[in-house]
């Protein structure tokens, strides 16, 4: 029993570390410090456009482990499910396609230079150009 329990915990820890530690980021100029769970889901589902009174635009990575982890941990959806949501919005005229970026370096570059962008990266890749947005 104890062995099984240990194994489960080990698998959980290993799988978590595979996904890394994903954090939400915004530009320093944005003044955004935190976001509620519902605001986050709403913005990445194309329904909401604001954090409090601030207008924001979500950006996503094109693919990869960090993107998959973000979709799973923060949105509780698969990347393909998130992609379907956006295609539905775009092809019914409700939103423009979400901006997608090729890698985390580009994500940090774009977010730091656009005060309205909201993005995500692995915590280990973060630098001083962006701030971490806390999910409350």
């Amino acid at each position: 029993m104890n062995k099984n329990y240990f194994l489960i915990v080990l698998i959980f820890i290993l799988s978590s570390s595979c996904f890394g530690d994903i954090v939400l980021i915004a530009s320093k100029a944005s003044g955004i410090k935190s976001i509620s769970k519902s605001e986050l889901v709403s913005i990445y589902s194309g329904r909401g456009k604001r954090i409090g009174s601030k207008s924001v635009k979500p950006v996503m990575l094109k693919g990869g482990d960090v993107h998959e982890a973000f979709c799973k941990i923060f949105l509780k959806r698969s990347p393909s499910s998130v992609s379907k949501i956006w295609k539905k919005l775009v092809f019914t005229g409700k939103a423009s396609m979400i901006k997608t970026l090729s890698d985390e370096a580009d994500m940090i570059r774009q977010v730091s230079s656009h005060s309205e962008y909201l993005g995500y990266v692995d915590r280990k890749n973060i630098n001083d150009d962006v701030v971490i947005v806390e999910v409350r």
């Binding site: 889901v41 709403s42 456009k49 998959e68 393909s80 005229g93």
Partner: protein, 389 residues
């Protein structure tokens, strides 16, 4: 076609001139369809005798939109379809509207807007947003598309979210439907000899759509419930080839759909139940003549196309999809319909669909439907390749 291209051109030029945020999108799907078994001669408009296979099932859309500012956007999309004997690559405006969002809670759209009826009517032309090739034909009948596809008028919409109680979305749409825009209904009237010069048209149409999603991170996160109701009246000046006299025909149609969907990382489950009531209004003297035995055969033929008596349709479907990998998804659907009226028919449809995403732009799908109804037992095989950008 010229008007749509011109409108898109204007959007592009305008957005460049004033440095607006312009985006464009397009889709192309080509489908192969083949029916097998004891298919009835008449079963809706789309599966009419294709036992030798048919490639005449193509859809294309091209659209664009401009974010004028953070609250205001305009856009349009043209659609061209060939659907068996219908469509013939005619290009029509799929949607086109101006959208002003006062806040996340309240916005207004005006123009030709997609009709939010059930979970899928609004996105019925967005192949890449679903796993199956065809939606459940018991609820999203292609033969009924002309009535419910889009509404020319205005809609109000909004979304309320709280971490504690979840998300509540609403849309209320009011206006009219341009039936002629959505091909084939008037053609069908002509085929069965109802009209010398068919002229079926919408009078007014109203739809309310309400959706609730449970809070993020809660035990049932991923669960969505929706209710939608639509009322419309259509009119036709009927000039029968055989019959007592020309007359005006009114048709009141009421549709209610209850929906549930549970979307998880690896799988999605869903179900919808629909109740639709057709209430035709025919002058008494005309109705008396058509009730005579001499007209029985004629009337029976018409009833499939144009309701001459109250029809009550109840339908539901349940489905489950499993995402085996990021690229491959398989889905099973069971769909039932029960038509009660002058012509009583029941049908059960089993559908197995497979979807493969080659990349972000190209999707391949295979689908088999097994249909058991009072009028026959047959299968439909479909294969589709879709491109979207």
């Amino acid at each position: 076609m010229r008007l749509l291209l011109f409108s898109n051109f204007i959007l592009v030029v305008a957005s460049n001139l004033v440095a607006l945020d312009f985006s464009y999108n397009g889709q192309l799907t080509q489908t192969y369809l083949q029916t097998t078994g004891n298919q009835p001669d008449y079963d809706g408009f789309m599966f009419n005798r294709t036992d030798e296979g048919s490639w005449k099932f193509t859809e294309m859309t091209l659209g664009g939109s401009v974010d004028v500012n953070e609250n205001f956007r305009v856009g349009l999309q043209g659609i061209s379809r060939v659907y068996g004997d219908y469509g013939n690559y005619d290009i029509t405006l799929d949607w086109g509207y101006a959208d002003y969002r006062f806040s996340d809670y309240f916005g207004i759209r005006a123009g030709k807007v997609r009709n939010a009826l059930g979970l899928y009517n609004e996105s019925r032309d967005v192949d890449s947003a679903r796993n199956s090739i065809l939606l459940s034909q018991d609820i999203y009948e292609e033969s009924y598309r002309a009535f419910i596809n889009s509404i020319i008028g205005a809609s109000v919409y909004g979304s309320f979210e709280k971490d504690t109680w979840g998300t509540f979305d609403y849309q209320i749409i009011f206006g009219n439907v341009d039936i002629a825009d959505d091909f084939f209904f008037n053609d069908e009237l002509a085929k069965v000899g109802v009209n010398k010069s068919p002229d079926f048209r919408g009078d007014w149409h109203a739809t309310a759509y309400l959706e609730y999603a449970v809070p993020w991170g809660s035990r049932l996160d991923g669960l969505k419930l929706a209710f939608s109701h639509s009322e419309f009246r259509a009119k036709a000046d009927i000039a029968p080839v055989f019959g007592p006299r020309d007359f005006e025909y009114d048709l009141d149609v009421s549709t209610t759909i209850y929906s549930i969907e549970y979307d998880q990382f690896d799988y999605t489950l869903g179900a919808e139940y629909m109740h639709r009531l057709f209430g035709p209004k025919i002058p008494d003297d005309v109705s008396a003549v058509y009730d005579a035995p001499a007209f029985a055969a004629l009337r029976a033929g018409w009833d499939g196309i144009l309701s001459f008596s109250t029809n009550d349709v109840r339908a539901y479907y349940v489905y489950g999809a499993y995402h085996f990998t990021e690229k491959y998804t398989a889905q099973l659907m069971y769909s039932v319909s029960d038509h009660r009226g002058r012509v009583d028919t029941d049908s059960n449809t089993y559908t197995f669909s497979q979807r493969y995403d080659f990349d972000d732009y190209v999707v391949g799908k295979l689908e088999y439907k097994h249909i058991l109804s009072d009028t026959g037992k047959w299968g439909v095989f479909l294969a589709r390749l879709g491109l979207s950008f």
